[in-house]
Structures are given as C-alpha cells and as structure tokens.
C-alpha cells in the first residue's frame, strides 16, 4: 500500500466530520457520565483533519509499517481521539458507547491494543507530559532507518507546565528532528483556571524558538488554516516544527465555549440534548447501538 490517508476528505467534508465528531463526543459522554468534554470538543477540526486527510494509515492493519505515528500526549483528550479513530475505521463507531465502562476497550485514558486498549493507539497516555519524549524516540528510530513516516504529537497547553515536555522539546531541537511535528492545543484553559492564572505560558512561541524549533501558529477551528500549517511543517527541513493551534475549549456548544470549568465534566442528559440541538446532524450519521437505552435509563435516574 502506498503512503496515503484512507479517507482524503475535502475541506467541506472535514468541517462536517468535525461536527460529527462533536456529536460523537457529546453522546459518548452523555452515556458514560464521566470524562472530559471541553478539550475534546475544541479539537474536533484538528482530529477530523488528522484522521480524514493528513495521517497515512491503514485501519485494517493498524501496525502497517508505512503508517504515520500519532501520539496523544494529553491522554484526557481521549474522547475526540476515539471518535476520530472510529470514524477513521479502526473499530465500529457503535463501540463509542462503551466509553469508560468496565471490560471494554475505550479506557478513560488511552491504552494500546496490545494491553486492553484500542487499535490505532501506539502507547498509553494519561499521566501528562510523556508524549513528546516518546515521539522523539520514534522519530529518532525512523530517521535511523531512513524511513519517510512522519511523527505527530499533540499536547494540551496546560500540559506544557510539565518539565519533561521541555526535556523532550530540547532533545528534538538538539537532534533537528524534522520528521516530527508537535501540535499544541492552545485553548488558554486548564483545570483550575485559565492558563495565565494557573501558570503563565507566554511568550509561548518564543519558548519553542529558544528550544530550536520552527514555530507556526494557526486557527485550530479553521480546517484550511490547519491543513496549511501541517503542510508547511512536513516540508520544513532542519528543525522540528510546532503548530500552536488557537482553539476554544468546548467549541461548538454555546454553554461550554471557552469555559475552563468544562475541562473534565460530562454534560448531564439535559445539557447533552441541548448540545446536540446546537450541532446539526451530518451525513456521516450518529452511532446508535446502546445509546438510547442508556440515555433513557439515565434520564429516568436523573429525575
């Protein structure tokens, strides 16, 4: 199989897919009643682009050696990844309804298929700050073998408080790893408050530059802008590139938008219904397996 993405959606479809991913996230969390809403919703466009246009992979053969490597360093963002993996074809979309339930594969934080997790996931995350170093290792290994595969790693902005991230960033800069692209979800929110209240990160671009990276900034909700940035990143030689993607936590749902209090809370059934009414259905279609029974059951409990 030649290097390619199995979906290659156009910009319009990527936007629609982003909306579908948002619907999937809301439904997953309505059912699980546990997990993170805010960060995942803000990443719908980025994951739509990654899994339906950018990344090379074969969902039927998740360990295909020609694949690009994607690492989600901020493991709590799992819901958006699971939705994208399901939409990408790694597992049945209906399995999204099992999030965080016992004896299932959609762990609260991502686990790889060879533990008890999912195909398409290379390694565990959840404890923040480890993904950059892992990506560096993989990028070094690929370069050693003169392989063309590209490596991506996605970080939360709050996650950049962790010192290990800067160790990894420094190492990537030292080794001039231009087969590595980092994406920062710059939503200015973390658990306790906005990032400048918890731990100021600015001037963020200067930090990466001083660690020997090429820095790009983009609007993380603008599909074309993000695609363009990734294109530039992949073609930049001699340094690793970071794309600082401006996003809004909870994007797409009016009452969650840009509010750090939605970092780790699922919508109630009522809130979920409200959110879904704000996100029009798409041609890709909702998942419908255990869903309505589950909602019904919980709706009853709620009252």
């Amino acid at each position: 199989m030649a290097s390619s993405n199995p979906h290659k959606l156009n910009a319009g479809d990527l936007k629609e897919m982003a909306r579908q991913i948002r619907r999937d996230i809301i439904k997953m969390l309505m059912i699980s009643q546990s997990g993170h809403s805010g960060g995942p919703l803000g990443l719908a466009e980025i994951f739509s682009c990654l899994y339906c246009r950018i990344l090379n992979y074969d969902p039927k053969n998740p360990t295909w050696p020609g694949r690009d490597y994607f690492f989600l360093s901020a493991g709590h963002l799992a819901p958006v990844w699971y939705a994208a993996l399901a939409r990408g074809g790694f597992f049945p979309v209906k399995e999204l309804s099992t999030l965080r339930q016992i004896n299932t594969r959609l762990q609260g934080h991502p686990a790889p298929g060879y533990t008890h997790g999912l195909p398409g996931i290379e390694i565990a995350s959840g404890s923040l700050g480890q993904g950059m170093s892992i990506a560096v290792g993989t990028a070094l290994g690929l370069r050693m073998d003169k392989k063309p595969n590209h490596v991506f790693v996605l970080h939360g902005d709050g996650e950049l408080d962790e010192g290990q991230v800067w160790e990894g960033i420094m190492t990537a800069g030292h080794y001039s790893l231009d087969n590595l692209t980092a994406i920062v979800d710059r939503n200015f929110c973390q658990i306790d408050n906005r990032t400048d209240k918890v731990m100021e990160l600015e001037p963020l671009a200067d930090k990466w530059r001083a660690f020997r990276w090429n820095v790009l900034e983009c609007d993380g909700h603008d599909v074309e802008d993000f695609l363009g940035a990734v294109d530039k990143a992949k073609n930049f030689k001699g340094k690793p590139t970071v794309i600082i993607a401006k996003t809004f936590m909870g994007n797409g749902v009016s009452f969650m938008q840009d509010d750090y209090r939605w970092h780790g809370v699922p919508p109630s059934i009522e809130q979920g219904k409200q959110a879904l009414s704000e996100l029009a259905p798409t041609k890709f279609g909702d998942f419908n397996r255990f869903e309505w029974e589950a909602l019904q059951a919980m709706g009853a409990q709620d009252e």
Binding site: S34, N103, Q107, G108, H109, S127, D161, G163, V198, M199
Partner: protein, 321 residues
C-alpha cells in the same frame, strides 16, 4: 458468640476530610500553606485557595516542582500541604521526595487523593496502586492511609505534629461509609482493633477497613470470629498490635486497595517473618494494572471487596495449625 456491630453513620468522601482539615488548620495556624498542581477542585483545595489566597500556591501541572517548592517553604517556617492525585503525588516526584523531603527531613505533608483502583473510570494510569510501597521504603517518612472521612480529617490535622520528616497521607475519591467518631481512638502509629475476634485477624487500611468490618459480620454469621484491625498508619508500623493478633488468632488476612507487592500486606509479612511467622493471605490487586469501571465494580473484579476478604479468611483458616 456475639459481636459488637459497627454502624455506618452515612457516607462522605475521605478527600473531604482532607479539605475540612486544611480549612481548620488554615484558621488555626497562619503558617499553614497549601500547594496545588492544577487539580484543585478534584483534590478539594479550592475552598482553601479561595479563603486564603495568599497561602495557596498554584504551581501548574508540575508535581516535581511542587514537592521541592514545598520543601523550600518549609525552610522558612511554613507548614506546607502539597496536594495531588496519588500517582502524581508519590510516583511522579519520587526522587524529589526522596532527596528534598525524606533525606532532608523537610516537614512537608504529601496529600494524595484519588488513590487506589477505586478511583474508577479514569483507568489504569490514574489508579495509584504502588504508592504505599514507594513511600514506606523511604527512611524518615510517615505513611498514613485512613479509613473514613473523619479519620482522614484527624490524620491531616495530626500530621502537623510530625516535624522530623515528611508525611504521606493516602485517601480516596469516592464517598465511603463513616464508621469512626470523635471518641474513636486515633493516634499516628497506633493501630485500632475495631472488632475483637480470635479465629483470624483482618488487618486493613483505607476503604478496606469497612470491607473488613462487613466481612467480619459475614464470617461471624458463619461462626468464624474475626478480629478487625484498622492499620491506618503503615509507617511506622504498629508491630505490637500485629504480633499480638498473630499470637492470639494464628491467622492473618491483610486488605488494601494497592498492589499485592510492597504494600500493607508486605509490611505485615516482613514484621511477622521476623517476629512470629504466621499464615497470611493477601487481599490486594494481584500484580496487574487496573482498568476503567466504577469503583465498586473494580473492587469486586480485582478482588479487594468484602467477599474477597471472606474468601481469604476461609483460606487462611485452612492453613492454620
């Protein structure tokens, strides 16, 4: 055969006991300071942060930094409480705790919420099942794992009196039965025999104390007299109470929300091997990582609930000479 029945006075989370304790300490002692690593609402330091903003330090998501900042604060007479989830309170900053707190005898309180597999849906990465082992192996460290809301509150308050080194206090996310009251004895380093018995002794800490109480009731109804010991302090270990139990009952069950290796069961086995070798069964997570699920579901699946304790007691009775 009769047995004093221990009742639950309702449910409350042990982490709330921590939260209420630091509020009281904040009122009583202006040197009390609290550090948060961006999990303030979960670990319940938000009330303190709001009430005493000048004595709350947000360090971002940087647990290693937090432990050493706490040590630095202790050098100028502050009494620092460093709060995080168990795995990020013990495992992530282990070397920092070792050098800057334990070896340096810094009187920092490490307040570890969300411990054990019972933290539930977050899954294995967030289920701290190794922290007792990590902390008790450090010299100068005190390790406490209280059994309910009030005991957690009292442990946190009592920890201020320990000034020769750090204290690690381990507690849990979910609501759990309250079975102690102000009259229950509580002294760091001194175990509490909650139920008397002479066939077998169940030595437990944390949420497993209540499971042990319930298991003892079941055993009692089947004619087995089980002693229940609340070993809220894992270090320093109350060896006297353990050896007495071994001598008087001849069979031991330990129970904890922790890996089978290195934890409370291991501490008891070390003690008895040196003092009075006794058959012991371990109720603990059997050398495996956890997974997502509800706390109660996981307690059952991973064999650390009351039913598992009952089974373990029966197994150890068969081995008793």
């Amino acid at each position: 055969m009769t047995m004093a029945k221990i009742e639950s006075k309702g449910e409350k989370a042990t982490r709330q006991g921590f939260a209420d304790a630091i509020m009281e300490l904040g009122r009583e002692n202006p040197n009390v300071v609290v550090l948060g690593a961006d999990v303030s609402p979960s670990v319940k330091v938000d009330a303190f942060a709001k009430t005493y903003p000048d004595r709350f330090f947000s360090v971002g998501i940087a647990e290693a930094d937090m432990m050493c900042i706490a040590a630095g604060l202790s050098l100028v007479g502050k009494i620092p409480f460093a709060s995080a989830y168990g795995e990020f309170a013990a495992g992530r900053p282990f070397d920092q705790i070792r050098q800057s707190l334990a070896y340096s005898k810094a009187p920092v309180k490490i307040c570890a919420s969300h411990c054990g597999i019972t933290v539930g849906p977050d899954g294995a990465t967030h289920q701290s099942l190794e922290d007792i082992a990590l902390m008790r192996v450090l010299p100068h460290m005190t390790v406490i794992c209280p059994g309910d809301y009030l005991e957690t509150k009292r442990a946190v308050k009592a920890s201020v009196s320990i000034t020769h080194g750090p204290v690690y206090i381990r507690y849990f996310r979910d609501n759990s039965p309250m079975f102690t009251d102000e009259l229950t004895a509580f002294e760091i380093g001194k175990a509490n025999a909650l139920i008397d018995g002479n066939d077998v002794s169940i030595i437990a800490c944390g949420l497993q104390v209540w499971e042990a109480i319930k298991a003892a009731e079941v055993l009692h109804s089947e004619g087995i007299s089980a002693r229940v010991i609340n070993m809220h302090t894992v270090k320093p270990l109350d060896k006297e109470t353990i050896v007495k139990a071994a001598k008087e009952t001849g069979a031991i069950v330990t129970a904890e929300d922790h890996q089978i290796h290195g934890g409370l069961g291991s501490a008891v086995a070390e003690c008895l091997a040196q003092a009075y070798p006794t058959p012991q069964e371990f109720v603990a997570v059997n050398d495996t990582f956890g997974e997502s699920g509800k706390g109660t579901e996981l307690m059952e699946k991973y064999g650390i609930d009351r039913g598992s304790i009952v089974q373990a007691a029966k197994r150890v009775l068969k081995r008793k000479k």
